[in-house]
Subunit: 352 residues, 2 copies
Amino acid sequence: MPRGRTDRNEGVTIRDVAARAGVSVATVSRVLAGNYPTAPATRSKVMRAVRDLDYVVNVHARALAGISAKMIAVVVDAVTAPFYAYVAQGAEEQAAEDGRLCLICTTGGDPARELAIVKLMREQRADAVILVGSVVPSEDYTARMTQYAHALSAAGTRLVLCGRPALGPDVPALTAEYDNAGGAYAVTSHLLSAGHRRILFLGSSPGGTTADARVDGYRRALADHRVPVDPGLEVPGGFGRPAGYRMMRERLAAGAPDFTAVFAGDDLVAAGALQALREAGLRVPEDVSMVGYNDDPFAADIGLTTVHIPAEELGRAAVRLAVRGADDAPVRAMLGTHIVVRDSVRPLTRPL
Amino acid sequence: MPRGRTDRNEGVTIRDVAARAGVSVATVSRVLAGNYPTAPATRSKVMRAVRDLDYVVNVHARALAGISAKMIAVVVDAVTAPFYAYVAQGAEEQAAEDGRLCLICTTGGDPARELAIVKLMREQRADAVILVGSVVPSEDYTARMTQYAHALSAAGTRLVLCGRPALGPDVPALTAEYDNAGGAYAVTSHLLSAGHRRILFLGSSPGGTTADARVDGYRRALADHRVPVDPGLEVPGGFGRPAGYRMMRERLAAGAPDFTAVFAGDDLVAAGALQALREAGLRVPEDVSMVGYNDDPFAADIGLTTVHIPAEELGRAAVRLAVRGADDAPVRAMLGTHIVVRDSVRPLTRPL
DNA sequence: ACGACTATAGTAACCGTTTACTATGAGCTT
DNA sequence: AAGCTCATAGTAAACGGTTACTATAGTCGT
């Protein structure tokens, strides 16, 4: 088999380059770094040797010598959730633009795996770790994050909380958020303006920051429209397609619909609920109006009116926060959300 | 601001641990590695010091001393494409199970970025890099891959081609594939069995391995059913939602439909085409049948009959291939595909 | 013509681990 | 009691870079 001249170069070190160029290792290092005057002739001899040998630096050696490895870790529950995928994508792009490697790690929602990843990143001396996604902020959680924050900060690693609430001002952590409650307020108002009064909120999950903020916006909109808040219309059950399907199915099994519109906690809940409604012979939007949250790509396909979250921009913002870190740099970014109107809401003609 | 005891530990080294435990660094290293006999009393002194100081090893130092950093890179066009997301997810999980870090990198389809990532991985001395996704295998492409393969192999890094064709037997690269043509054959047969004869293939892109394999399966199924292949029914235009929309729109603009069924190159194409059909007042499956490819999650929501690709398993297989690498280990994995029947195909009642 | 200065290159210490080699004392054997 | 072996721990040499410090040869001013 034909093998290129560059094949057996395991262990091509800076020493080999120096030898071939007939200079010292220091000179090679300097030519490559370009931060020290070198004679043009020397420079070209070195570059020649680098090409001939197909040399690449060893980041580990370089990191040991004190040059950051320029690595950022993004930690999400799962990349398969579109929201997380877009956040990760944005982070990746921003990191690449800033000349950094971007590690995307998944935990499957398991705190133990999260802990393991944080430890791994400490070992790697990463520049930053970005923890993405909703949480239920128990005391235990806050303690855990605070501990992470200190341990990471001690290793010179920045901690960014993305889409989850900020920690106290004493804790060395940055925060990138989006306006969850605002979007919920807007989309609820949209339903109210169409005349709906009995709006089912599907997927509240008391304690979860994301769901709580959305319920909050929902309630505030109702209040501002002088519609009484009915706790019986807030169905707990979390997010995701199966949850949406189950919640709607159970609701319909319990009796005739006592609502004219549905606010699904996220688009996946909407998709699940939609299927349950369809199976029960109810059409959207003819019989029931529905809105979602997130503006997942498929929302366009099913014509779902929903709230757009700037997920990609959120990822970028998180990375920027982490990278552009002068000591006086902002410690927090808050992104806006907006409603996108499609075809899943109809004005209420026949009140319940 | 109050700082915890564990806070200023930047540079807590093995030396600090040794000092605090009153032993030598070698002993600490041995206790931590657990590969050398140590007295129980010593062991516990060391562990105590490790906890007190909240010490974590420095992977760079360790890597330099010859212990692999246990890192795998998965390179995809974009994580936001569900197929890639699932491959990445599978790879991530398998890597985690094997105790390895998994880097997910995106190129946006840009060969320059791909090259940059390969270089980065050489610098990192990664265990493996997994290149995922279809390609158009020009001579240039083959040369590039061959070069990657040799350079990586020289640095002790395995190259895995995932969902793209294998290189020559002389090239040090592994391959994880799935049966593209087989799935296309099956789903085309499904349409043919329902009586369809004029089946539009949407999104052929001559030269692209994925699309070519699907077209190939499509043609073979037609041939086996003695239906003549009509090149006019194969619409080039690539994959993705916008492409699907555009192709169908243009096709419909050119005149009344001359097909009764559509084989969309992938599910996104199907989604786009679906929208174009809907806008033209045509219903699926009442007026035209449609099948897709990939079994993206949203396919369930729009009731699309499609071909399931074991994406997650593909990612896992790629990692296994890379990790379980004895020299006599298999060099190639081929995964099966299967059709999943939903509600987008109807028997042809009124032939064109 | 001589010292000061500049441009460039070399020398060697250091970064934090791992591990081959060496040292030490305790418990046996004969 | 000398000589072994064994268990355990220490010493120091890598690993592959970076960079402070040092050395050398021109250049220039006077």
